[in-house]
C-alpha cells in the first residue's frame, strides 16, 4: 500500500511541476511579447469593460506588465498548488495551465490590441476577439495536457478489497451480470442551468447588437457549452465486466473506470453543496472525485491507486452489489 501511495504522489508531483513550468513560461512569454511593443502602448491601457462595451477600468502602462504577470502567472500557480494539496494534481495542473493561457492571452492580447491608439480609441476598444481566441487556446492547451497526463490503467490492476458487509449479488460465477441506470438529477441543476443560460445569452445578444462579434461568439460558445454540460448531468451509468462508465448525450464520458482499477464499492450518502461545493463533475473537499448530480445515496467506488469516485445514481445499492460481484470474480480469474 505504501508503495502505491508513493507512486501516486510522484505522478501528481511531476504533473504539477511540469504545469508550474509551463505556467511561468506562458506568463513570461506573454509579458515579454507585450514588452516589445512598450513604446507604442498608450499611457492608460483599458483593462476592464462595462456592460455597454465601453472601457471603464484602466491600468497605467508602467504597471501593466506586473499586473499581467500576476494575473497570468501567480493566479494559475495558486490554483495549481491548491490542486496539489487536494491530491488532484493530474487534473488541476492542466486546468491551471489552461487558465494561464487564457489569462495571459487576454491580458497581454487586449493591451497589444491598443498599440498606437488615442485615448478615445482606447475607451471604445473591443477585446471580444482576443477573449474568444484566448479562451479557445486555453481550452485546447489544457485539454492536450490533461490527455497527456491523465492516469493510465495500472498494469495488473488493483487487488479486490470488498468489505464483508458491502452489498453483493447471490449469483454463480458463470452468470453474466450488468447494472444499467442513470444519474439522479436535482431540480437545482435545472434551475442553475436556466439561470446560467439567461445570464450568458442576454449579454451575448447585446454584444451582437453593439457589433462586438468576438465577445458575442465567446458568450454564445460559453452558453452552448453550459447547455451541453448541464443537460449531460442526466447520464447513463453502466456497471459490467469491463468496468464502470458514466456517459451522456452520446458524446460526453464523465467516467470510464476499468474493473481492474476498482477495489470495491459501497453505498454512501452525498451532500453536493456541503461535500463537493456544488453539482457536476466535482472534486470533493475530502479529496473524493465524482459525478454528483443530486443529494442522497450514491455509488462509491474505491480505487486502489486513485481517489474514491462517487456517482449519484438511482438504485445505488444494486449498482454497488453488481460492482462487488464482478470485482470478487476477478480474483478467481485465471486469464
Amino acid at each position: 500500500m505504501s508503495k502505491t501511495s508513493v507512486r501516486q504522489d510522484r505522478g501528481q508531483l511531476v504533473v504539477s511541476a511540469i504545469s508550474a513550468a509551463v505556467i511561468v513560461l506562458v506568463a513570461v512569454a506573454g509579458v515579454v511579447a507585450l514588452w516589445t511593443a512598450r513604446d507604442q502602448l498608450p499611457d492608460q491601457i483599458a483593462t476592464h469593460w462595462g456592460a455597454n462595451g465601453q472601457a471603464d477600468g484602466f491600468t497605467a502602462v508602467e504597471r501593466i506588465f506586473v499586473t499581467n504577470a500576476l494575473l497570468g502567472g501567480v493566479l494559475p500557480l495558486v490554483l495549481m498548488l491548491v490542486g496539489l494539496a487536494m491530491k488532484q494534481g493530474r487534473i488541476m495542473g492542466p486546468l491551471s495551465v489552461g487558465l494561464a493561457v487564457f489569462l495571459s492571452g487576454l491580458g497581454n492580447g487586449a493591451a497589444w490590441m491598443q498599440r498606437g491608439m488615442t485615448p478615445d480609441e482606447v475607451a471604445s476598444s473591443d477585446p471580444g476577439w482576443v477573449m474568444l481566441i484566448s479562451a479557445i487556446a486555453g481550452v485546447v492547451v489544457g485539454a492536450a495536457l490533461w490527455l497527456v497526463f491523465r492516469r493510465t490503467p495500472t498494469p495488473g490492476g488493483v487487488a479486490a478489497n470488498v468489505a464483508a458487509d458491502a452489498p453483493r449479488l447471490l449469483v454463480d460465477d458463470p452468470v453474466r451480470v450488468a447494472w444499467i441506470g442513470h444519474t439522479a438529477v436535482s431540480k437545482m441543476v435545472w434551475v442553475f442551468l436556466g439561470f446560467g443560460i439567461v445570464v450568458t445569452v442576454v449579454p451575448a445578444v447585446r454584444a451582437f447588437a453593439a457589433g462586438s462579434w468576438g465577445l458575442g461568439i465567446f458568450l454564445m460558445l460559453f452558453a452552448a457549452l453550459l447547455t451541453v454540460f448541464g443537460l449531460a448531468m442526466y447520464a447513463t451509468a453502466t456497471v459490467d465486466a469491463r468496468g464502470v462508465r458514466v456517459r451522456a448525450l452520446g458524446l460526453i464520458t464523465w467516467a470510464d473506470i476499468p474493473l481492474s482499477e476498482i477495489a470495491g464499492a459501497t453505498v454512501t450518502v452525498v451532500n453536493p453543496v456541503g461535500e463537493f461545493g456544488g453539482w457536476g463533475r466535482r472534486i470533493g473537499f475530502a479529496g473524493e472525485q465524482g459525478i454528483v448530480t443530486d443529494a442522497g445515496p450514491a455509488l462509491r467506488l474505491d480505487r486502489g491507486h486513485d481517489a474514491p469516485f462517487v456517482i449519484t445514481v438511482s438504485d445505488a445499492e444494486a449498482a454497488a452489489a453488481a460492482v462487488n460481484t464482478l470485482v470478487g470474480r476477478r480474483s478467481t480469474d485465471h486469464e
Partner: protein
C-alpha cells in the same frame, strides 16, 4: 436496473433478457415511459450478440410491453401487466421442467390435470 443472463440455463438468452424486463415491469422497477438500454450497449454489457437483445426487444414489443421507436430506442408502455406476468410464470415453469427432465407433453398434462381439478 440489474441484468443477468446465465449461459448454462436451458432457456435461450433472449428469453432470459425478455424475462428480466417482464419481471422488472411486474415488480414496478420499470414503469410506463421508462427507456430500456440501447440494444447495442446491453449486448456489450452482457457479452451477448446484438441480435439476441434485438430479438428479446422484438418479443417484448409483440407482447405489447414496450414500444420500439427509431432513434428513441425501446420504451416501456406496460399496458398489460397480467399477460406479461403470466408469460414470466410460463417461462419459469418451462425452465424448471427442463431442469427436472420433465418433457413438454408431461408438463402440458400436469397443467391440464390442474385445470381439471378446479
Amino acid at each position: 436496473m440489474l441484468w443477468q443472463v446465465d449461459p448454462r440455463d436451458p432457456q435461450p438468452l433472449y428469453q432470459q433478457i425478455a424475462g428480466t424486463v417482464r419481471r422488472a415491469v411486474g415488480e414496478g422497477t420499470l414503469s410506463s415511459g421508462d427507456r430500456l438500454p440501447a440494444a447495442k450497449e446491453l449486448a456489450a454489457s452482457l457479452d451477448v450478440n446484438l441480435h439476441t437483445v434485438l430479438r428479446a426487444y422484438q418479443m417484448l414489443r409483440d407482447e405489447g410491453l414496450i414500444e420500439l421507436r427509431r432513434g428513441r430506442g425501446a420504451i416501456v408502455i406496460a399496458s398489460d401487466l397480467g399477460m406479461s406476468k403470466l408469460t414470466t410464470l410460463a417461462d419459469d415453469l418451462v425452465a424448471q421442467a427442463k431442469r427436472l427432465g420433465v418433457s413438454r407433453d408431461e408438463l402440458a398434462r400436469i397443467i391440464l390435470e390442474g385445470e381439471a381439478d378446479e
